[in-house]
Symmetry: C2
Subunit: 77 residues, 2 copies
């Protein structure tokens, strides 16, 4: 199975969502990307239609925006 990718920015909303998602999907099925620490990956996330974090990119290429934490614009600041 192709991995999902969980994009987040380390805020408490993100961390709670991360724990739930990793529990649900299994650690081995999710790549976790901290966009606050890896700002070089923000363009990649934007191309994939990530509008805010936390967000889950599914293996289908769909994006689920979860528990609004921060917009992509906020992360670039």
């Amino acid at each position: 199975m192709k991995k999902s990718v969980f994009y987040h920015a380390g805020c408490s909303v993100c961390v709670n969502a991360e724990n739930e998602i990793v529990d649900l999907l299994g650690h081995e099925n999710v790549e976790v990307v901290h966009l606050g620490e890896e700002k070089s990956r923000i363009p990649e996330a934007e191309e994939l239609s990530v509008k805010s974090v936390p967000a889950l990119l599914t293996p289908n290429g769909g994006v689920l925006h979860i528990n609004f934490g921060a917009s992509m614009e906020d992360l670039k600041a």
Copy 2:
């Protein structure tokens, strides 16, 4: 494994999210509740801290609000 519960209201945002979630978790692991058709379950959802739909209640009791579609207040109208 305890089931997750996916609350939605039949809007297109909800349906897209439902398809992604059911694909990710497996049909047998998710109960799908359409709060537009089952308004009697709105109080249950509110007690579980569902603020908007679509939302996923995890087996831990956590609520993930996904791709904002409609607030609980809108559903009561």
